[in-house]
Amino acid sequence: MTARGRLAGSLLPAKKYLALFRVRFQNEMQYRVAALAGVCTQFVWGFMEILLFRAFYQVGGEMPMTFSQLVTYEWLQQAFLALFMLWFWDKDIIEAITGGNIAYELARPMDLYNMWFTRVAAQRIARALLRCLPILLVAFLLPEPYRMSLPVSFGAFLLFVVSTALGLCVVAALTMLVYALTFFTMSASGVRIFAASIAELLSGAVVPLPFFPEKWRLLAELSPFAAVQNLPLRLYSGNLAGDEALFYLGMQVFWLVALVLLGRILLRLMRRRLVVQGG
């Protein structure tokens, strides 16, 4: 190990990851105008979706969510889009994999999986923090049927926070899986596009899962994608509560562990195959 490596290695492990977080934050803060534009876009998006559902609610029939629950779901979804969207990739990481800069990444005195996982999570948190506050603020101030409501109870809020954190980790683990697959196919744009659309659908980004036909809903709820945004957003508004909520939280933990394990195994396989050419 080089002198520098020893120095970095001797730092507290948490400190290394905190440094990673800080860099991502500073990076993100450089693009404030883009963030503002994003906030506007997401706000319009959420509002239009709510108007669309208003038309459906006027049709009537039995609703799996109250209108107020749906409104809250949509606003949270737009506010935390950066946390949960499945079509967002780190160009630097993909270029590192396909371009060969991976050699430098491997030379760092950190575990590759942990390092990239932290990086993915940090970037998403930084983006979301910058964007969620204005959206939530406006959503809380809107006139009645469109106003976002407070969490149904303190317990629901706690569950929301916990499952948001878990959901973010599931997203990061899924992202890592896609990066690991990129090693094997070297383009993986097919994998990425697939993840970007089918997974979006199954995660409840297009239509909330309770509105799915029975069979599709079952399929979606058993898939890892339901552990992303579907769960926290429904916990907040009380659409999921009690034993059902606990069951799905358990599912979330299960998927997190399974996806991290799978990602680590794939990454280890990759390292065994990897040949770094000099130069």
Binding site: A34, A37, G38, S197
Partner: protein, 258 residues
């Protein structure tokens, strides 16, 4: 026109050098719009109707919008990636050539992978037309073609607006996505579902309803008013302010010098 076909064949030839990646992108485009289709299908099979429109009717609105958008992306993509042309000095070269710059920007890039989306639109049309109860007469078919064509012109015009803004600032251009990508997303349903105010907005400010909504009322037999068939031509009026903005932008242009 002859020159355009020349550009067209060059783009096609260069694309055929990368058949596999073209195929993948095309399939990807197809899948992407497929999840939007499923979203409509899920909601419509639960509610059966929205704003008085049935599934097959909603699918017609979806298909017209999707087809217009993908045609615009296919052929006017040059304006979509315009900021990079300003950045790398490509636009300087364009201004020097003795051909109209708008033509050159259009011809400089063609995105054939949008065929994937186009295919989705065609299949949706087949589904909607096969299952619906519309009496298809030649005038309605002609009107449908006119709707798609004017819709493509509409989206292309939006790309031009975005490109014109990039003469003034490179920051915050993402806001244009509200109208371009937003138009594609919100146009999945008849624009009237978003309420009277939104319909008014999409009639007079960003006139998407002129090709997506009003003429469709005639096709679906909701109205016998033949004037609705002329609505797509209103897009031509929209082109006036758009070309004004573009000219303003070009006049404001200062080369980066690199």
């Amino acid at each position: 026109m002859k020159l355009y076909f020349r550009y067209f064949s060059i783009h096609l030839k260069s694309l055929m050098q990368y058949k596999a990646s073209f195929l993948l992108l095309t399939v990807g485009q197809f899948i992407t719009s497929f999840s939007a289709f499923l979203g409509i299908y899920f909601l419509m099979s639960r509610f059966h109707t929205v704003n008085g429109f049935a599934l097959h009717e909603v699918l017609l609105f979806f298909a017209v919008t999707l087809m217009a958008f993908s045609l615009a992306e296919c052929f006017a993509r040059g304006f979509d990636v315009f900021p990079s042309m300003l950045g790398n000095g490509e636009f300087d070269r364009i201004l020097l050539r003795p051909i109209h710059p708008v033509f050159q920007v259009i011809a400089s890039k063609m995105e054939f992978s949008r065929v994937g989306r186009l295919l989705q639109a065609v299949l949706t049309f087949a589904l909607a037309i096969g299952g619906g109860e519309v009496q298809w007469r030649w005038d309605k078919i002609l009107l449908l073609v006119l709707m798609i064509f004017s819709g493509a012109v509409f989206f292309a015009a939006l790309f031009v607006v975005g490109a014109s803004f990039s003469f003034f600032s490179t920051e915050g251009l993402e806001v244009m996505n509200i109208f371009t990508d937003g138009g594609r997303e919100f146009g999945r349903y008849p624009l009237s579902v978003y309420g009277k105010e939104m319909l008014r907005f999409y009639t007079f400010i960003v006139p998407m309803a002129l090709f997506q909504y009003y003429p469709m009322l005639y096709i679906l037999g909701r109205s016998e008013n033949p004037w609705l068939c002329a609505a797509p031509l209103g897009i031509l009026v929209f082109l006036l302010p758009v070309s004004l903005v573009w000219k303003l932008g070009v006049r404001h242009y200062r080369s980066t010098g690199s």
